[in-house]
C-alpha cells in the first residue's frame, strides 16, 4: 500500500483499538501513538508532494495537490495535539470520577475516527467521496457532542445533527447538480466525479445547472464550515463537546469544510469566471464576521465565545478567497495556517478553566481567574491576543494581507466594513477575556477555587501549543511556507 493509504489506515486502526477494552495505559498509548504516527505520515505525504510526486490512490479518487497537502498537515497536527491533550483531559476527569468505561471507549474510538474522516476529506479528489467523508465527520462527532450527556448536550447534538444533515443534503444536491452540469463530458464510472476531471472540462459545463449546483454546494458545505447564517449549531456544539473534540471541530473540521468550499469555488471559477462563487463567498464571509461581532459582545459562555471567534475566522478566510485577488487567497491560506496553530491554545486554556470550575459559563467561572489559575488564564489572554490579530503575531500578517488585497481591489466598501468589524471584534474579545481573567470578583464566594491548577499532561500540551503559536509568528518552517504557496497556486491558478 502506498503512503497516502497508510496515512488514512493508521487512525482507523487506532480508532478500532480504542473502541476495544483494555488497560488504560495501553489505550492512551494507542491514541497518542496512532495519531503521532498519523502526523508523521501526513508530513511524509506532504514531503512526497513537495518532492514533485503527486501522491494518489484508487484511480485518483484520492489525490494530494498543494491545497490537500496543506490541509492534511494541519489536520494531522491538530489531531496529534488533540490526542495528547485528550489523554490529559480524561485523566483529570477520571481523577474526579466522572468517566465511565463506556465513555472512555467512546472517547478513544471517536477521536481517531474523527481525525480519519477529516484526513479523508482533505485528500478527496472525487466529489462523491468528499461528500461521504464530510458526512462521516458529522457522524463521528455527534457522540462527542453528547459526551457529557447533559440536557443541553442532547439539545446541541440534535441541532448539530439536524442542521449538519440538512447542510449535507444540500451539498449532495449540489454535487448531483455539478455532476449533471457535465453530463456527456465527464465520462463514465467513478472517475467522472473527479475534481480534476471537472477542471479539465470546465468550459463545457452547463452554466445554469452549474450555478444552481454551486449555490447548493456552497451553502451545504458552508453549513459545515459554520459560515453565517448557517452557523447556529456551532456555539452549542462547541460548548457541549469536550475541549479535545472541540479543537478538532474548530480547526480540523473548519479547514476540511473550507477545503470543500474551495474545490467547488474552483470549478465554478474555471467555468463561470471568478465573480459568481467569489461574490457568494465574499458575502457569506462578510456576513459571518458581522454576525459574530454582537454575539461576542453579549456572550455568556467561554466556549461559545470561541465558537463565535471561529465563525469570524472562517468568515475572514472566505472573504479573503472571495476578494478575487492572489494576495487575498494567499492571505486566506496563511490565515488558515495561523488559525490552526493558535486555536488549540485557546481551546486548551478555556477547557482547563472550564474543567477547574466544572463549567464553561461565565457566571460559574466568575471573574478574576488569574488569581486562581494563573497559567491557564495567561494562556487564554495570549490566545485572545493572537486570535484578535494583534501584532506581531501571525494572524495580524494574514489579516493585513487580506485587507491590503481588499483595498487594492474592487471591493473597497466591503473591505472597509470588514475592517470596522475587526476592530469591534478586538474590543469585544478584549472586554470579555479581560473581564474573566482580571476582573474583580463579584462576591467572596467566587474566590473559592474548586480545583487547584496542577501541572499535568494537559497543561504541558497547552504550553507546548502556546510555544508553537508564538514561535510560528516569527518563523514558519520552509516546507510549510512552500505548502502554503503551493496551495495558493492551486486556488489561484486552479492547477
Amino acid at each position: 500500500m502506498n503512503l497516502l493509504v497508510w496515512t488514512l489506515v493508521v487512525p482507523l486502526i487506532s480508532a478500532a483499538a480504542g473502541g476495544l477494552g483494555g488497560p488504560r495505559p495501553f489505550k492512551e498509548a494507542t491514541l497518542v501513538g496512532g495519531l503521532l504516527l498519523t502526523f508523521g505520515l501526513c508530513l511524509a505525504t506532504a514531503n512526497q508532494f513537495l518532492g514533485g510526486i503527486v501522491p494518489a490512490a484508487f484511480g485518483d479518487a484520492l489525490r494530494v495537490d498543494g491545497l490537500s497537502a496543506l490541509v492534511l498537515v494541519l489536520c494531522g497536527f491538530v489531531g496529534l495535539l488533540s490526542a495528547v491533550y485528550g489523554v490529559g483531559y480524561l485523566r483529570r476527569n477520571e481523577a474526579r470520577r466522572l468517566v465511565t468505561p463506556r465513555m472512555r471507549r467512546k472517547f478513544y474510538a471517536l477521536i481517531p475516527a474523527y481525525v480519519f474522516a477529516m484526513l479523508l476529506v482533505s485528500v478527496s479528489n472525487n466529489l462523491g467521496i468528499l461528500w461521504i467523508a464530510v458526512e462521516l465527520t458529522t457522524l463521528a462527532s455527534v457522540f462527542l457532542v453528547t459526551f457529557h450527556d447533559r440536557d443541553t448536550s442532547l439539545e446541541a447534538a440534535w441541532k448539530f445533527l439536524m442542521l449538519g444533515s440538512l447542510g449535507l443534503a444540500f451539498a449532495l444536491l449540489g454535487t448531483v447538480l455539478l455532476f449533471a452540469s457535465g453530463q456527456g463530458h465527464l465520462g463514465e464510472g467513478m472517475a467522472s466525479l473527479n475534481w480534476t476531471r471537472f477542471m479539465q472540462v470546465a468550459p463545457e459545463l452547463h452554466p445554469f445547472t452549474l450555478r444552481l449546483g454551486v449555490v447548493f454546494a456552497l451553502v451545504g458545505y458552508g453549513t459545515k464550515a459554520g459560515l453565517a447564517p448557517m452557523h447556529t449549531w456551532k456555539p452549542d456544539a462547541y460548548r457541549e463537546a469536550p475541549s479535545p473534540a472541540g479543537v478538532l471541530m474548530a480547526v480540523g473540521m473548519l479547514n476540511g469544510a473550507l477545503y470543500c468550499i474551495l474545490r467547488v469555488h474552483l470549478i465554478s471559477k474555471a467555468s463561470l469566471g471568478p465573480e459568481f462563487s467569489g461574490g457568494l463567498l465574499l458575502m457569506l464571509g462578510l456576513l459571518s464576521v458581522l454576525i459574530a461581532t454582537p454575539f461576542i459582545l453579549i456572550q455568556w459562555n467561554l466556549k461559545r465565545l470561541l465558537a463565535y471567534s471561529s465563525i469570524e475566522h472562517v468568515g475572514i478566510m472566505a472573504l479573503g478567497v472571495g476578494l478575487g485577488a492572489e494576495a487575498g487567497v494567499f492571505g486566506a491560506l496563511l490565515h488558515m495556517t495561523y488559525h490552526s496553530l493558535v486555536k488549540p491554545v485557546a481551546f486548551f486554556s478555556a477547557g482547563t478553566l472550564a474543567q477547574l470550575h466544572s463549567s464553561s459559563d461565565f457566571d460559574r467561572i466568575g471573574n478574576g481567574t488569574f488569581s486562581r489559575a494563573p497559567i491557564a488564564s495567561a494562556m487564554l489572554v495570549l490566545a485572545a491576543v493572537i486570535m484578535t490579530g494583534s501584532p506581531p503575531f501571525g494572524l495580524f500578517f494574514s489579516e493585513m494581507t487580506i485587507l491590503r488585497a481588499g483595498f487594492l481591489g474592487p471591493h473597497v466598501t466591503a473591505t472597509a466594513v470588514f475592517l470596522a468589524a475587526l476592530i469591534l471584534l478586538f474590543c469585544g474579545f478584549a472586554y470579555q477575556v479581560g473581564r474573566i481573567v482580571l476582573g474583580p470578583p463579584r462576591d467572596p464566594a467566587e474566590r473559592r477555587i474548586p480545583q487547584p491548577e496542577r501541572f499535568d499532561l494537559g497543561m504541558g500540551t497547552m504550553i507546548a501549543a502556546a510555544v508553537i503559536a508564538v514561535v510560528s509568528a516569527f518563523y514558519l518552517p520552509g516546507p510549510l511556507m512552500a505548502l502554503i504557496r503551493a496551495a495558493t497556486q492551486v486556488v489561484w491558478g486552479g492547477a
Partner: protein, 215 residues
C-alpha cells in the same frame, strides 16, 4: 410508456409529500414516507430497465430495502418504544401550510425550466417535482416540532435529492451511491438513538423545548 411510469411515480412522491404536510398521525406520516421511497425505487428501476443500466437496479433495490422498509420499520419501532403517536399543532396551520407548499412547488417548477434537459418532457417534471419536494421538506423541517417529523422532513429532502440524481444524471457512480446510502442509514440510526435519549430525558419529543442554548 417509460415516461408515463416515471411521471406517475414522481407525481405520487409529490402527493405523498403534500399529504405529509397535512398529516398529524406519526404512523401515517411514516407510511407516507415509505410509499414515497418505494415510488423512488420504482423510478430508479424503470430508468435502469429502459436504459439498460444494471447498476441502477442495485440502487433501486437499496432504496426499496433501506428507505422503503428498513428506515420506516426502525422509526415505527422508535415511536412504539416511546409511545407518542401524534404531532402537536404545528407552528402554521394546515391550510396555510398547504398554500405555502403550493407556492413552493410553483417555485420549484419555475427553476426546473432552466435545466438543459428541463425545458420539456419527462426530465422537466422530474426536476420540478424533486425541487418542489426539497422545498416542502425544508418547510416541514422549520414548522414541525416533533423530532420524528423533523427526521421525516430530512428524509424527504434526501429523497428529493435522489430523485434529481436519477432524473437528471441517471445515477451517480456506483461506489458513491453505495457510500451515500450507507451514510444515510447511519445518520438515521444515530438520529433515532438521539430521539430515544431526548424522550428519556425530557419526557417529550417536542424539539421546541430544546431551547436552553441561545445567544
Amino acid at each position: 410508456m417509460t415516461g408515463n411510469v416515471l411521471i406517475l411515480c414522481a407525481a405520487g412522491m409529490l402527493v405523498s409529500a403534500y399529504l405529509m404536510v397535512a398529516q398529524k398521525a406519526l404512523f401515517t406520516a411514516i407510511r407516507l414516507y415509505s410509499a414515497q421511497s418505494l415510488l423512488l425505487g420504482i423510478v430508479a428501476a424503470t430508468i435502469a430497465f429502459s436504459e439498460a443500466r444494471h447498476d441502477l437496479f442495485v440502487t433501486a433495490a437499496l432504496t426499496v430495502a433501506l428507505k422503503g422498509i428498513l428506515i420506516p420499520w426502525f422509526l415505527m419501532r422508535v415511536i412504539d418504544r416511546i409511545g407518542i403517536h401524534r404531532e402537536i399543532e404545528p407552528f402554521l396551520n394546515v391550510p396555510a401550510s398547504l398554500m405555502v407548499c403550493v407556492g413552493l412547488t410553483v417555485v420549484g417548477y419555475r427553476v426546473s425550466t432552466g435545466f438543459p434537459e428541463g425545458a420539456r418532457g419527462v426530465s422537466h417534471h422530474l426536476i420540478g417535482i424533486a425541487l418542489s419536494m426539497l422545498l416542502i421538506g425544508l418547510f416541514l423541517m422549520v414548522t414541525r416540532k416533533k423530532a420524528i417529523t423533523q427526521i421525516l422532513a430530512l428524509l424527504t429532502v434526501e429523497n428529493a435529492v435522489f430523485l434529481v440524481a436519477v432524473g437528471v444524471t441517471s445515477g451517480m457512480p456506483f461506489v458513491v451511491e453505495l457510500g451515500i446510502s450507507f451514510d444515510v442509514i447511519l445518520a438515521v440510526l444515530i438520529l433515532g438513538v438521539l430521539v430515544g435519549r431526548i424522550v428519556d430525558r425530557f419526557e417529550s419529543m417536542d424539539v421546541s423545548r430544546l431551547s436552553k442554548l441561545k445567544g
